[in-house]
Each structure stands twice: as structure tokens, then as C-alpha cells.
């Protein structure tokens, strides 16, 4: 492992000045929520640590995670981060193909047993013995299990690897299964999103390299530093939400004024991600800023939560599409109707009983003691 160059070596070899390198370190520190005291620590780690070998495998996916990753707009990321890790196998990015590529994979596993990081983009389909996704002539699930066996840790890139995403959406014909349900004996970091934000991806890797440990994860296994708050919590349109000023229709005056997209089905209030802080494309914008609600792409099963444009999720368990209000309202109406009908019958019955009792009373007028008539009358 000592032959592997350090990150700093690679950066300098690529013509990056020390000044730029220090800039990168401080930017990374602030992106990770660390104080200025950590900048030299990051720099030190970069200068002295050998690059971490990374095996990047692709299951059922669309490569949007890779596309996002290589476009990391963090000043040096596209030059540095890819070089920073020793990306020994990535069938999408590597020049080698076929036998050579598979040999590279096996070499890396053999050479760095227990020391490499396995990055998984996409997920394995389990139906038909995994035949829905074949890599190198074998089901992807086999490759995944093989590569995971000696991995130090696993990064689940994107919604596919973390939760299943579109290929696992109901009825999930291929039984696409998120990584943590297939590999259960390794630490797994979920970096959900469709795709995840590039700076989040590079940030997670940088953290692991700098501190030699996994970032703190939340209950769902996501790095807390990027996924502990909802988009809603840091949304710049939040004041309009609190004011009750909403876009009512696309292209209405409120949309032009940049009001809250809650009524247009924005999933910001239920989505944990860093879009409203880090934003996309070098911090240029993010969906809400562009006038479209969040679709909640970094949430578990987001394809199965009804329309992207409904605030209330449609429930399909009843065979028809209806939201909670339609179902509840219908049930309440039915119960209300039943109650009204029951009340009417009760009233009729009561009137009838009174009538019968009056007749009976007329017959037994002579009886002195209090008859059941009075009782019924008074009742």
C-alpha cells in the first residue's frame, strides 16, 4: 500500500498549486461543518495518507450518480476527488473492458483485502436468481456479494442503492433490492438522492479519508452532516410558507413572485437532503429555486408516494386513486348517513311504541298502580 501516492502528490502532479490545495482543504472543512482548526488536519491527511482504493460497481441504475459525481463543481473536485481515491474499478469510467476489467476488480480485492471501499451505484435485482442484471457474464448480485466480502465499508450511492428507487417501485417486477438488505454484515453509508448532490458525494469520501472513519450516520444510515435537516428547514421560500402565501397554479402571479410551492406538491417538508443549502451546479440553483417543487428523490420509496404534484398522497390500496381526505370524507359521509337513518328509525320506533302504549293504557285505565305506560311516557 505504501507505493500508492498520497492525495497531495496526485494533486501536485496534476498541476494544482499549494494555494489551491489549501483553498480546497478549507472549503471541504466548511462543507463538512468543521471549524478552521480542522483545515490543517485535512491538509495533513491529504499530504500523508495513501489514497484509498475504491471499487465502484454498477447494478440496476441510470448512471446519474456517476454523472453527478464527475461534475462535482467544488472547485477542485473533478480534478482531485477522482484522483484522490484510487478508483481501481469502475466499469463506466475505466478504459479497460471485458476480461481486463474483471481482472482489475479481482486484483484490487486480492491486494487490498479489508482495506478498500466498495461504492455501489444501483441495486441488485433478486428475482430469477438475479438474471435481470448481468455484469461480466454473472448476475450483479454475485459480483456485489463477492466485492463486499472483503470491503472495509460500503457506500450506497443514490436512491437506487439506498432504497431501491424507480426499479423497486411497485410492483417491482425484478425484485430490485437495496444494498443494505443484501449485504448485512458491513457498515453501509447511504447517500440517497436521484442523483445525490456531487459535493455531498465528494464530501462523504473526503471525510472518510481525512478521519479514517465513517461519518456520523442518522437512524436511516445517512451521513448526518448532509441529511439531518429537511429541504424545508433551510428553504429560502420558507417565509412564504409561514405566511400562508402559496403558488396556487403554475404560472400564476404567486409563482412569479416566488411563493411557497407547498400546494403544488412540494415534498421539501418530508425530504432530508442538502439541496437548499449546497444547491446544484456550483451552487447555481436547486429545484425549488427554479420554480418547481421538490419531488423528494432522496426519500425511501419516493416513486410510490403518488403524484409529484399532490400535497396529499394518493392511496391505491382500494383499487381506486384517492387521498386520505377522499377516503376519510367518504367514510364520514357514510357513517353520517347511517347515523341519520338510524336516528330516523329510532324516532319512528319510539313513536310507534308510545302509540302502542297509549292504546294499552286506554284499555287498562282502571288499574290504579303505576302501569308501564307512565314509565314509557316518561322515558
Amino acid at each position: 500500500m505504501s507505493q500508492i501516492e498520497t492525495f497531495y502528490d496526485v494533486m501536485r502532479r496534476q498541476g494544482i498549486t499549494r494555494r489551491s490545495f489549501m483553498k480546497y482543504c478549507s472549503l471541504t472543512a466548511s462543507a463538512l461543518g468543521l471549524g478552521p482548526a480542522f483545515v490543517p488536519k485535512i491538509a495533513h491527511a491529504m499530504e500523508t495518507k495513501p489514497r484509498t482504493p475504491v471499487i465502484w460497481v454498477h447494478g440496476l441504475e441510470c448512471t446519474c450518480c456517476s454523472e453527478s459525481f464527475i461534475r462535482s463543481a467544488h472547485p477542485l473536485a473533478k480534478d482531485v476527488v477522482l484522483s484522490m481515491i484510487s478508483l481501481d474499478y469502475d466499469d463506466t469510467l475505466m478504459a479497460a473492458a471485458g476480461t481486463q476489467a474483471e481482472a482489475a476488480l479481482q486484483d484490487t480485492i486480492d491486494k487490498y483485502k479489508g482495506n478498500y471501499i466498495l461504492a455501489v451505484e444501483g441495486n441488485p435485482p433478486l428475482n430469477e436468481d438475479g438474471m435481470f442484471c448481468i455484469v461480466g457474464g454473472k448476475p450483479f448480485v454475485d459480483q456485489l456479494k463477492h466485492a463486499a466480502e472483503h470491503a472495509k465499508a460500503i457506500i450506497s450511492w443514490g436512491a437506487c442503492a439506498s432504497y431501491g428507487c424507480v426499479q423497486a417501485a411497485a410492483p417491482n417486477p425484478t425484485r430490485a433490492t437495496p444494498v443494505h438488505k443484501v449485504i448485512t454484515d458491513k457498515p453501509i453509508i447511504k447517500v440517497p438522492g436521484c442523483p445525490p448532490i456531487a459535493e455531498v458525494m465528494t464530501g462523504v469520501i473526503t471525510y472518510m479519508l481525512t478521519f479514517d472513519r465513517l461519518p456520523t450516520l442518522d437512524r436511516q444510515g445517512r451521513p448526518e452532516m448532509f441529511y439531518s435537516q429537511r429541504i424545508h428547514d433551510k428553504c429560502y421560500r420558507r417565509p412564504h410558507f409561514d405566511a400562508g402565501q402559496f403558488v396556487e397554479h403554475w404560472d400564476d402571479e404567486n409563482a412569479r413572485k416566488g411563493y411557497c410551492l407547498y400546494k403544488m406538491g412540494c415534498k421539501g417538508p418530508t425530504t432530508y437532503n442538502a439541496c437548499s443549502t449546497i444547491r446544484w451546479n456550483d451552487g447555481v440553483s436547486f429545484p425549488i429555486q427554479s420554480g418547481h417543487g421538490c419531488i423528494g428523490c432522496s426519500e425511501d420509496g419516493f416513486w410510490d408516494q403518488g403524484s409529484f404534484y399532490d400535497r396529499l398522497t394518493n392511496i391505491k390500496q382500494f383499487g381506486i386513486e384517492a387521498n386520505a381526505d377522499v377516503i376519510g370524507g367518504t367514510a364520514a359521509l357514510a357513517v353520517g348517513g347511517a347515523v341519520a337513518a338510524h336516528a330516523a328509525v329510532s324516532a319512528l320506533k319510539r313513536a310507534q311504541q308510545k302509540n302502542d302504549a297509549r292504546k294499552a293504557a286506554a284499555k287498562t285505565q282502571s288499574s290504579k298502580t303505576r302501569s308501564s305506560v307512565d314509565k314509557n311516557e316518561d322515558a
Binding site: G244, Q245, F246, K267, E299, L312, A324, G328, H342, A379
Partner: protein, 255 residues
């Protein structure tokens, strides 16, 4: 009946004439004097009932608006108005009062009389309960001429109270606090206590939908509860509505 308070009237052979007030007749008095009352709902139970009812009403109205907000209002700049914020505040505040009330009610199940405990369990091992439940069903299906007398809840009411209030309110409290934990943020007390639920359910939209359906279940309970209380008050043999005000249950006959 451990806590039963029996209020005896004057005996039949020496009716207290001085008590014949207003337009009361000798025959009226015979009824009045034989009426009995049992102290069923102690003050904390009644206080809880009405506080709970008021909070549920607030929660339903504000909760509905949180799901489907009122039309956009243009009172001023966004920083000058707080319409949706107040709606959400009312929802959260009422929910907190409801939570405290519910815990108070659970405390009173231990501290209060045995009627205070009835809401929290179903005596499903007693065959009499099921027999009486069937009878009550038949009474509501107009198959029985005469309802049975109950000091506390009848079996059908006990079943409804248990599932809609004890279980239902618990469900609404747990899901509601889990949703509140999202806004309170990681590391907050609501998150420490209820954050596990969101992690377990997965997507918060599902949690929102379940909480929303719970609201409709409570609306349905309200319809049935108010109808049944008024109907029983009119048609059954004991008082209903006033019992939740005075605490005393009175009976119309002594059969």
C-alpha cells in the same frame, strides 16, 4: 359498586310534602323520589373529557388546513404575516395540551374510581361481556325492546372508547409527535422519543397519510359518539349527556 353513591328519596309511606315544589304532582314525586343517581365521572374525568373534546376540535380544523392550506392571503409582506404559522402553532399547542391531558387521564385511571379505568381495557375473557355486547348490538339493530342498564359504559361503548380513544389517541399522539420531531430536528426531545417511528416507516409522506386517516377515524368516532350519547339520553334508561357535566348518572326506572 365501591364508589357508588346512592341518594335515597323519601320513603313511600311518608312522602315529604314540603318537597313538593313548583308544579310537581304527587305522582311526579313518586318517580322523583325513586330515582337514583350514581356518581360515575369524577371531576378530573369530566375536565379531561371537555378539554380533550375542545383540543380535538382545534386539531381537526387546523390539521385539515395543514394538509390543504386556505387560499393565499395578501395581508402584507411575508415577514408581516404569519397565517400558516399560526395555524400550525394552534395545531401543535393543542396537541401538547392533548398529550398532557392524556397522561393526566392515564394517571386518573389509577387514582380515580373504577369507572375511570373502563376506557383502558376490554374484558375480553369474560363471557358476560360478549353476551352483553351482542345484546347491545341487537338493541341498536332494533331487535331488543328494552336496553339494559349501565352505570359506566355499555360493552359497545367500552369497545368504541378503547379503540378510538385509548388506541386511536395513542396512535395520533405517536404519529403526530414523530411528525413534529421532523421540524424540531435531530437531537431534540421529540426526535429522541419518537424519531424511531419515521426511520421505521421510511417515508414521511406515509406517516402524514396515516396521521391524516387517523383524523378521519376520530371524526367518524365523533359522529357516532355524539349521536349515541344523545340517542341513549333519550331512549335508554339512564342519563348520558348531563352525566358528563355533573358526573352523576341517574336512572329512569328501578326495574
Amino acid at each position: 359498586m365501591r364508589d357508588a353513591t346512592y341518594t335515597p328519596g323519601p320513603t313511600e309511606d311518608e312522602p315529604d310534602k314540603a318537597k313538593l315544589t313548583g308544579d310537581i304532582t304527587e305522582s311526579d314525586f313518586k318517580h322523583v323520589s325513586r330515582n337514583t343517581s350514581v356518581y360515575v365521572y369524577e371531576a378530573p374525568v369530566r375536565l379531561w373529557h371537555w378539554t380533550n373534546a375542545a383540543m380535538i376540535l382545534i386539531l381537526i380544523v387546523t390539521g385539515y388546513f395543514i394538509g390543504s392550506p386556505p387560499p393565499t392571503m395578501q395581508i402584507g409582506e411575508a415577514y408581516q404575516q404569519f397565517v400558516f404559522g399560526y395555524i400550525r402553532f394552534a395545531h401543535f399547542a393543542a396537541a401538547m395540551v392533548l398529550t398532557v391531558g392524556f397522561f393526566g387521564r392515564i394517571y386518573w385511571a389509577f387514582a380515580g374510581n373504577h369507572h375511570a379505568r373502563q376506557m383502558f381495557y376490554i374484558p375480553f375473557l369474560q363471557s358476560a361481556f360478549w353476551e352483553e355486547l351482542l345484546y347491545e348490538f341487537r338493541w341498536y339493530l332494533f331487535l331488543e325492546k328494552k336496553p339494559r342498564k349501565y352505570v359506566g359504559h355499555n360493552p359497545l361503548a367500552q369497545l368504541a372508547m378503547f379503540f378510538f380513544m385509548t388506541v386511536g389517541l395513542t396512535f395520533m399522539l405517536v404519529t403526530g409527535w414523530a411528525l413534529y420531531a421532523q421540524g424540531a430536528g435531530e437531537g431534540s426531545i421529540p426526535d429522541d422519543l419518537f424519531g424511531w417511528l419515521l426511520a421505521w416507516v421510511g417515508n414521511s409522506q406515509i406517516l402524514h397519510t396515516l396521521h391524516h386517516l387517523g383524523m378521519w377515524a376520530i371524526i367518524i368516532f365523533m359522529i357516532i359518539h355524539i349521536y349515541a350519547a344523545i340517542r341513549e339520553d333519550i331512549m335508554s334508561r339512564q342519563s348520558m349527556v348531563s352525566t358528563m357535566i355533573s358526573g352523576h348518572r341517574t336512572f329512569r326506572d328501578d326495574d
